[in-house]
Symmetry: C2
Amino acid sequence: METDTRIRILDAAERLFVMHGLDATTLRMITAEAQANLAAVNYHFGSKEALTEAVFRRRLTWLNEQRIAALSAFEAEAKGQPLKPRQIVEAFFGVAIRMAADHNGGQTFMRLLGRTYTEPTEFVRKFLAEEYAEVIARFKAAFFKALPDVPQEEFLWRFHFMMGALSYAISGTEALRLLGPIDDSDPEALYARLMSFLIGGLRAPLPDLVVKPVAKTARKPRAKRAA
Amino acid sequence: METDTRIRILDAAERLFVMHGLDATTLRMITAEAQANLAAVNYHFGSKEALTEAVFRRRLTWLNEQRIAALSAFEAEAKGQPLKPRQIVEAFFGVAIRMAADHNGGQTFMRLLGRTYTEPTEFVRKFLAEEYAEVIARFKAAFFKALPDVPQEEFLWRFHFMMGALSYAISGTEALRLLGPIDDSDPEALYARLMSFLIGGLRAPLPDLVVKPVAKTARKPRAKRAA
DNA sequence: GTCTATAGGGGGATAGAC
DNA sequence: GTCTATCCCCCTATAGAC
């Protein structure tokens, strides 16, 4: 019945971080929520910063392994052929959405992750960059192969926009209330909605960019067909 | 050459808020940056919270007025006919992107706004809800009219996803580095890229919400009619 | 391993001189 | 309007008893 103090601290920190942000969450709040002593954090983790890293690493490593596993499975199936964009989106964003639907802590963590991208503490940013390096490299390569007609820079922006949509899909329960009453209780529906939106955006007609203009000139508002 | 202390404090707070977040920014940092005395914040604004509100209100009111003006202009032109989705997206997101391109403070502010949605302090959330009430109502109505075949709940989610993409488009300069080197120096290009992505997502085929959970229990009767 | 107690540093806010 | 000085609070981290 009595769970490990270390685990209780990680769980409490995760919950409080997502509610109040990293900085506004104090060790006193964490240890009170975890029913542990104030000194327990420093005993088990060494510092607040080290605890923060542990909170992220605990689930993020697993999440990115799942993403890579999903991508690898599709690639094995495709036998060297480019994947369908939908499969790659599924492997990256679908896995994240499913983790966000997991009420056993995954949900809390994904909300934390969603708000952390736009909340850049120096050490968290550095840490995230390391944790993401491999998965980003794998998915970039897969996307470039699957979408040879989309310029790579255009794709990187779209990937970035997709991450924004994912972030709001997950952590947006609060911000969403701005728009009025909405039902966010069905993870399957959210999954379907987000996938549809992302693929629509990813495969949108390419914007008609002026080819490196030095002077400001009129632009044609029309777009071209995408691949 | 000596500008108003009040203005210098607002500018300094805006810059520091976007760099460190609301909570981690101290009055001491703000007054040092503004070359003002520590007591000046409380003299001019009353409290840190009141200063925070002033920082947001200064530009947000103007931004939302611009959005409503842009929408009204399109509506006047349309003479009662539904607008094109592209026009509504332009009025809401285009205005924001253009403000983000304004190096005269607008850029800083939009980055702040982008990270604030996912960083919910109770009083900021309440404040944003008030500031946004009118503009949200106007744009929801316009979208519903322009997209009669998209179920309203589906649209609200898509609007939410679009806000996520906007947020990352603006404040994502940092998070973006995860993806590798990328050129974010051309606001016109960013504008074109985001518009294209948003409209692609907004007009994506509707997700089939009923077929998905086939292995699980039956879900709600229907996903309304599709177009 | 877990606790109490405390050190040592900032934090927001304010009183009162100028 | 602006400044100095200060109050009182809460923070992280640690020393040392149990």
